[in-house]
Amino acid sequence: VSTALAGTGDDAVTRATSADQVDDQLTELYTAHYRSLVRLAAFLTGDRDNAEEVVQDAYVKVHGSWRGLRDPAKAEAYLRTTVVNLSRSRLRRRQVAAKHRAEPLLDVASAESSAMRTVQREAVLHALQQLPQRQREAVVLRYYGDLSEAQTAAAMGCSAGAVKSHTSRAMTSLRPLLEDRS
């Protein structure tokens, strides 16, 4: 099972006091999570070009507020929540700016062993982007991020029950596309 976002453990980050220590912690966070967070943002925004910018914003934000963190060991969760929130903001802006413009969402990889599988993946990814935002966040955090319901709830700023509900509804929409066609 992938632990793309599930983290490397709270003890990976300890309280930093000096600017240099904060910078070091930032570098650690970058090494451990940057790639997976960019991918998360790409899923959440449907825009891989801006995903990196969203995640960089999140890192800068976390860096700036480091001393205000009640528990620096939670920096990873804080970072993830910030990415979710910034993705929402980015999505909202883009939707307003290009309400009627059809934009390419996530590209679908061309190198695929099975044409059927490619079609299926494309259909699922397309359906994923059509989901209501909260449902999309829930399934991406749960199944790409491999987060528990509680972790997902924390990242989304909602209850675990709401996560369960969003996930269930999302899966109801996606399930027909996820049937085993092999």
Binding site: R39, A42, D57, G68, T81, L86, L106, G157, M171, L178
Partner: protein
């Protein structure tokens, strides 16, 4: 022994992981983050000049970030606070200041508060539109990209706003408040805690690093310029008119070039909700992009309390 069939959740997880592999971040993410962090550090602290320390002026930079939600974040930077009134400490412009000094003669009407016309959560503008300072054109941005040493802060929205206030407008005793990191709107707040104006920034994305430039400063319906309009081409003898509510004011007006020269000044009495109007003349035509700068001052303590900066161009 056979592998149990995957459920839809497993298949979705596999598909998402597979798709995620196609998203490959560029290798310079950390460098970009560090650059931005450094720019913000400079933006926060450059306002602590040794001269200010030597003269006992308080200079404080405060960063308040409360929680991970973008909307809950607040960045506040305080400029050196003068020990005397703001009018006495305003630094002289390269050219003479407006001929009429502010002479407020009435007290503010209770309940009239600033109403910035620009939303505090206005998103970044990705396309570069004409702006005032430090860049008025794509060519100027490109020149900066080639050599960033003179304006290392130009890639940071708050840094640009700060330098605009201190270097271009030469205001002191005010501080800036930015509601979120990504927002390109920064409020100017005076020592009384009142909003003086809202700086609007634009961002040039057609290259790296991104560059910010100030496009406007607005106050809201309580103080507006109705003529000329933003970006208008004006000639000497142009009529500047507008409206102001709440107080009787003497409004000084200055025409500043992009390089910071004040080439024309005027003043007009105004107030009681009546439209005001005056004629602005100048002789120096060696400019293209400029700004009309209009200020009012608090009758109570003389600090700046309203500000408009309107982009104009030289008419032919």
């Amino acid at each position: 022994m056979t592998t149990p069939p995957l459920g839809p959740e497993d298949r979705l997880a596999a598909l998402l992981r597979e798709q995620a592999e196609t998203v490959v971040p560029a290798g310079d993410g950390l460098a970009r983050i560090r650059t931005r962090v450094a720019a913000r550090r400079r933006a926060r602290w450059f306002l602590i000049p040794s001269a200010a320390v030597a003269t006992g002026l308080a200079a404080v930079a405060v960063l308040v970030l409360q929680g991970p939600d973008d909307k809950s974040s607040l960045r506040q930077v305080t400029a050196p606070s003068p020990s005397t009134s703001a009018t006495a400490t305003e630094q002289p412009s390269p050219s003479p200041e407006p001929s009429a000094n502010p002479q407020p003669s009435a007290t503010p009407v209770p309940g009239v508060s600033p109403q910035p016309s620009t939303s505090a959560t206005r998103p970044a503008t990705s396309a570069f539109v004409p702006a005032i300072w430090p860049f008025a054109s794509h060519a100027q941005v490109e020149a900066w990209r080639a050599d960033q040493s003179s304006k290392p802060w130009a890639g940071d929205n708050l840094g640009v706003a700060q330098h605009f206030v201190t270097d271009y407008l030469k205001l002191t005793g005010v501080h800036l408040v930015q509601s979120c990191l990504s927002c390109d709107v920064v409020s100017i707040v005076n020592s009384d805690g009142r909003d003086v104006g809202t700086i609007g920034l634009v961002r040039e994305d057609d290259g790296w690093p991104r560059a910010y430039s100030v496009s406007t400063v607005t106050y809201g319906s309580g103080f507006q310029v109705t003529s000329p309009t933003e970006g208008a081409a004006i000639r000497s003898g142009t009529t500047v008119s507008g409206t102001i509510v709440g107080v009787d004011e003497n409004i000084p007006i200055a025409l500043m070039t992009q390089d910071g020269r004040t080439i024309g000044t005027a003043a007009t009495p105004a107030g009681s909700g009546r439209p005001w109007s005056t004629t602005l003349t100048w002789t120096d035509d060696n400019w293209y992009t400029g700004a009309l700068v209009l200020k009012t001052y608090s009758p109570k303590d003389g600090v700046i309390d309203r500000l408009i900066v309107l982009r104009v161009t030289r008419g032919t």
